[in-house]
Amino acid sequence: MSAVAGHGASVHIQNCGKTFPDGTQALAPASLDIVSGETLVLLGPSGCGKTTMLRIIAGLETPDAGGRVLFDTTDMTAVPIEQRHVGMVFQSYALFPNMTVAENIGYGLKIRGVDKSVRAARVAEMVALTNIGGLENRRIDQLSGGQRQRVALARAVAVRPRVLLLDEPLTALDASLRDRLRSELNSLLRSLGITAIYVTHDQAEAMELGDRIVVMRKGAIAQIGTPREIYFAPQNRFVAEFVGAANIVEGPVAGGRLTLPGGWLALDNAADNAAAVAMIRPETIGIVAEADAFLRGTVESVAFIGDRQRLVVTGAANQPLTVDAPNTINVRAGERVGLSVTPQAVRVLPKED
């Protein structure tokens, strides 16, 4: 076995809900299976229950009666966190101010009674892995935010946990650093091949890091799927709008056509429906000459962003449509344009209450 690799346990959450003593239900009973070695992202707005779910897996919260947490085939529900052999990265990092960087990273090993020389070697390995060479003897308050994040990760991974749990580990960092650490974290998780559960409210993080994403809303699971499935085939309006930008259009469907105020769109095998709701991603809408299109509208505004330009087109649908157009085409506000959308790009959503 290589020094840091190890696939970790599969995690099975069975019927786990959480009701707090004051009666609020943070999490409706939910079940979830996480494959060994997989990175699963719990994604949702604040208060959606994602952190509660993570804390139940960690052992920091106990699920309501009837819920069970299994690592591989072992029931961990009643096992306290210190015996679950997990690694955890907290949003605030929770690094010990009374210890140096090296002592922080080695703490879990020290607790397990690992021999001092072995410990030193493992700490050195973690320092190299997370790119924090030279900081070993620093105190925590002498580190920048990004360095703290790396130390927290090194400390969690040093014990070779069965499951790595990350609670919004990048949220406290500024945007450019967040992007860089995100891709570093991604390659680290891939190379470790560890079972990882990652909580975030940032959909870009979820897309990049997740093998699968669990989108959560109001204490319940809204959809589980790969990033592509979540993005291209959202199962409901909430997922469509929360992940990426989405145009939601409404109109009647008959004979494979969705009729809109500015014309119609062809659909892929859609049943007739008097009041259908559909989603179209802004980058799937093409701008064509008005005469060549079945759907037409007026450009209300053009925002040049650099790699693309973002258009708002009115009159085509019941709401203004956002269109991401190539940065090469020449359109002006007030112009009439035609819109082309392939049938595959129009996703009919189930009717909601």
Partner: protein
């Protein structure tokens, strides 16, 4: 010019206030080494009063320190875990308990003493031993320890640190020793300083609880003021001063070192 005038008047005022507080201390101390206070310092300087006080009250002085450090030990052993428990548990019950612990600050020492006497006065052995005074001092000083430790817990997010250590495999006791106590050190030191000082100087409660065989420094002081020459009482103050100031300075230095470490 105007600035200098303002500065000079501020300095003058400060010195005046300082003098107002310091002069009585100096007078009291000189009285303790004067042969006859009513004839003034020209009557001669002597250490006889100091020696007399030492011979009469060495027991009280020893007992005072014994009680002060015993009080410190009890407030540490009970107060630090209590502060931790109250902080981590949170909620309304914790706040109620915190209020109850703090109550002795608002209740006159005499009332606390009276309650202790009413309740435990019948237990002869306990009533007559120094442990009775210790009990009173613990009740009186506990809020200072609990509060100052809780203030630190609130500022360093001790709950997440605790969870972090737990996630790395540390048992509750190991966490308490490795993470909770070291990070609460500034609060523990500040609390200790308060507890020792308050216990050494406590009079109200101790006066009610003491027996002729269990007197502390301040009770002995009151005793000597009431029944002996002014010079003796002043010599007593001098001894009190000499004993307490180095202790306070030492603890203060210790506390500063703990904070900057």
């Amino acid at each position: 010019m105007r600035d200098r005038l303002i500065f000079a008047s501020q300095l003058g005022f400060t010195l005046l206030v300082a003098a107002f507080l310091v002069v009585p201390v100096v007078l009291s101390i000189t009285a303790g080494v004067t042969v006859n206070y009513f004839r003034g310092i020209q009557s001669g300087v002597t250490l006889q009063w100091v020696v007399q006080v030492w011979n009469l009250y060495a027991g009280e002085i020893g007992l005072s320190f014994l009680i002060a450090f015993a009080t410190l030990a009890v407030t540490l052993v009970v107060g630090v875990p209590a502060a931790y428990g109250l902080h981590v548990k949170g909620g309304r019950l914790s706040r109620v308990i915190e209020e109850i612990i703090t109550l002795p600050l608002a209740i006159p020492g005499l009332a606390i003493a009276l309650a202790l006497l009413l309740t435990y006065g019948g237990f002869g052995g306990f009533r007559q031993s120094w442990l009775f005074i210790l009990a009173g001092h613990v009740v009186f000083t506990m809020p200072f320890m609990v509060r100052s430790v809780m203030a630190v817990f609130a500022s360093v997010d001790i709950k997440t640190l605790d969870e972090g250590a737990a996630s790395l495999g540390a048992s509750p006791w190991t966490r308490f020793c490795n993470v909770i106590v070291p990070n609460a050190m500034p609060g523990i030191l500040a609390g200790s300083l308060m507890v020792v000082t308050l216990s050494l100087g406590e009079f109200n409660l101790t006066w009610m609880l003491h027996t002729p065989l269990t007197k502390t420094l301040p009770v002995g002081l009151a005793d000597s003021y009431a029944s002996m020459r002014l010079e003796v009482a002043s010599a007593y103050t001098l001894i009190f001063f000499i004993m307490i100031v180095p202790l306070l300075v030492a603890m203060q230095m210790f506390a500063e070192k703990g904070e900057t470490k």
